[in-house]
């Protein structure tokens, strides 16, 4: 399925992600965390399919399990003592649940960033911030691009060296280490040179100079205005909810939370709408497309 949300104006995309990632990091109510995690993974699966599922299993699940184990090993606060650890400190229910919660939060933020880097491509990023903070946005987009590029280049170098019989998996341990160091040194030289090349190239094109215009294919349409207004409203509404502690939930010293009534549930519902916005947009567009298609 095509991701329609990417075709919205970059400002809408960026605003959406900053809101969602921000609220994901702030809200620790299990219901809101569940909403965010679910929406992030559904959106990822909707747009990327198998890759997102793999990402979940490979990174997010271990993350949750890891923090669920690590947190109670160092944090012993909480009223419900389950048993005593060999160190003599208590193992508490609250610290385990808090570990799961913070693990889920990190996993959710990772998933949102998976979506972020797909939607906000480096050209969108440069478009948004090229004028305001030219050097920083160039450095950022170069850095974000650097890791995949580095990997590709490294594969090339390793291939080339294999073809002349200097594979990193051949020879004695010492030879292999030497070979790996050579590859590393080649890569460092390449990346430094590449960075300078890019910077020089951008400079020669007058990047960041006053009065320089940049081509972009983005148009701010009516739907972007509506989307932006909607996001602004959600952001304001949820911020008020946080101030009024409608999402209130605490783990220590014992678990206490705002009881779920119509008001608090409504705040959660608004959060659900905010998180699910791209999923809904994609589904609606898909339906529309199918409808037009069937009439033809």
């Amino acid at each position: 399925m095509k991701d329609r949300f990417t075709h919205y104006h970059p400002l809408v995309n960026f605003f959406y992600f900053s809101l969602v990632i921000g609220f994901t990091m702030v809200l620790n109510h299990p219901l809101s965390q569940g909403i965010s995690l679910l929406c992030a993974s559904i959106y990822g699966i909707q747009a990327e399919g198998k890759k997102a599922v793999l990402f979940c299993l490979k990174w997010c699940l271990p993350m949750v399990l890891l923090t669920a184990f690590i947190n109670p090993a160092f944090n012993h606060e909480g009223l419900t003592i389950l048993l005593y650890l060999p160190t003599g400190n208590p193992l508490t229910l609250e610290s385990i649940l808090y570990g799961i919660s913070s693990g889920a939060m990190i996993a959710t933020v990772m998933l949102w960033f998976l979506n972020f880097q797909r939607v906000i491509t480096s050209d969108k990023f440069i478009y948004l911030f090229g004028r305001i903070i030219p050097s920083l946005s160039l450095v950022l987009s170069m850095t974000l691009r650097f890791i995949p590029k580095f990997r590709q280049q490294m594969e090339l170098v390793v291939e080339a060296r294999r073809s002349i019989g200097r594979d990193i998996s051949e020879g004695s341990l010492l030879q292999r280490v030497g070979s790996a160091i050579t590859v590393l040194s080649i890569m460092i030289t390449w990346s430094l040179e590449n960075a300078i090349d890019t910077a020089d190239s951008m400079k020669s094109r007058g990047y960041g100079l006053k009065g320089r215009s940049a081509f972009s294919i983005y148009r701010f349409e009516d739907r972007d205005e509506i989307a932006l207004a909607f996001l602004g409203f959600c952001g304001l509404f949820l911020s008020v909810g946080i101030v009024a502690s409608a999402f209130g939930f605490r783990y220590f010293p014992d678990i206490r939370y705002m009881e779920l009534n119509a008001v608090t549930l409504f705040f959660q519902f608004v959060y659900l709408i905010l998180c699910a916005l791209p999923i809904v947009l994609n589904a609606v567009e898909e339906k529309k497309w199918n409808y037009i298609h069937s009439k033809m």
Binding site: H76, E77, G78, L79, I81, Y84, T87, G88, N89, P90, T92, F233, L236, F237, V240, G241, V243, A244, S245, A246, G248, R250, F252, P253, D254, R256, Y257, M258, E259, V263, T264, F266, F267
Partner: protein, 371 residues
């Protein structure tokens, strides 16, 4: 159209926000209330405190001495008008007479804190009714002493006198023995510290290798946990208690999530005689007492002091009541200047774990922190 819509939206947000009250239903601290001239607190106010599960502080003065009542809503069993005014007279720093105006039971127990004008040099205090000890009084306060006692109104006239040093029988023996025998004997006693330190303690800049200043003469020397020899055959006994009255003097500083955890009389574990095995340290006993009595306790091993550091007891942690707060221990009236894993207990010792909100100054232990 757009304007009216946005105004409507903002209004709806405001209405929703107001319908959420920001509490989890736990205890909350109310602003301090001045006790009226006649001292009568109406039943209406008490029932409000009870219904809101609030903690209320009532302030009053008796001539020059000010006092505070701290009432926990969860303690209130019976609601009626009570007279909280108190007449307090101090007799030359020797004795404080507290005279309640209320002549019958309050229907709840409340903490009375009396702010004296000067500093009492006592380890603790006891309240007497007609020369019979009726309640124990906790002494806190940095510059001037605060007497904290839990009252329920059944005793209306209390004379408070400072306790003499709690003394462990074995220490008394050795100390009295010291006066009679030549000082070389103390040096032979591996337990007590003498003016000259033995060779086994490597002092640099006056400190030992675990950064401990010289132990005052006549006080027990630290026994390193790795040299600890527990003799499970010999059972000894000591008096053990855990209290946090200092928190009750400044509940406004306390992390509001922890208000529920503070006992209304400040006593987490009342003075109890506990048995231990010869050679065990204060920390060993604390750990066992907490475990047996289902009291939460967290400690971490600190290699540079070669001792466990008690971070929190009963979920009340260091820094929970201001940045200078934490747990300290006192044995026989002395706050040791080394960790609790290095303090080897002797038969009859009196161990107190106390919470401080001011680096020990409010519980007469400022010296143990060192400088």
């Amino acid at each position: 159209m757009k304007k009216t819509l946005s105004i409507l939206l903002i209004l709806s947000i405001a209405v929703l926000a107001c319908s959420c009250d920001g509490s989890f239903g736990g205890a909350s601290l109310q602003e301090a209330i001045e006790i009226p001239a006649d001292g009568i607190i109406e039943a209406r106010i008490l029932s409000q405190i009870r219904n809101e599960n609030a903690i209320a502080v009532f302030m009053g003065t008796s001539e020059e001495i000010s006092y505070e009542w701290t009432i926990f809503g969860s303690d209130i069993q019976e609601v009626k008008d009570v007279n909280l005014s108190v007449d307090i007279r101090e007799r030359k720093g020797q004795e404080v007479i507290v005279q309640l105006s209320q002549e019958e039971a309050f229907g709840f127990s409340a903490l009375l804190s009396v702010y004296l004008a000067d500093k009492w040099e006592y380890q603790g205090a006891t309240g007497y009714e007609a020369d019979k000890p009726v309640l124990s009084v906790s002494l806190t306060g940095s510059k001037n002493s605060i007497l904290n006692m839990s009252l329920d109104g059944t005793v209306s006239t209390i004379a408070i006198r400072g306790d003499e040093l709690p003394q462990a029988s074995s220490v008394v023996e050795t100390e009295s023995g010291r006066e009679e025998t030549p000082p070389s004997d103390i040096e032979n006693d591996p337990y007590l510290s003498a003016a000259q330190e033995g060779d086994e303690h490597l002092y640099t800049n006056g400190k030992d290798k675990y950064l401990t200043d010289p132990v005052p003469e006549g006080k027990p020397k630290p026994v390193e946990p790795e040299h600890q020899e527990v003799n499970a055959q010999t059972s000894l006994s000591c008096t053990f208690s855990i209290e946090c009255a200092t928190i009750l003097n400044q509940l406004d500083q306390l992390d509001s999530d922890k208000l529920d955890l503070v006992p209304s009389d400040g006593v987490i574990f009342p003075e109890t005689t506990v048995t231990f095995y010869e050679g065990e340290s204060v920390f060993d006993v604390l750990q066992r007492v907490c475990r047996e009595n289902k009291i939460h306790m967290e400690a971490s091993w600190t290699p540079i002091y070669n001792s466990a550091y008690v971070e929190g007891i009963s979920n009340l942690y260091e820094f929970d009541c201001g940045s200078l707060s934490g747990w300290m221990y006192r044995v026989n009236g002395w706050y040791p200047n080394y960790g609790c894993s290095r303090y080897q207990l002797r038969d009859g010792d009196v161990v107190q774990w106390r919470y401080t909100c001011d680096l020990g100054k409010d519980i007469d232990g400022g010296y143990a922190i060192g400088g």
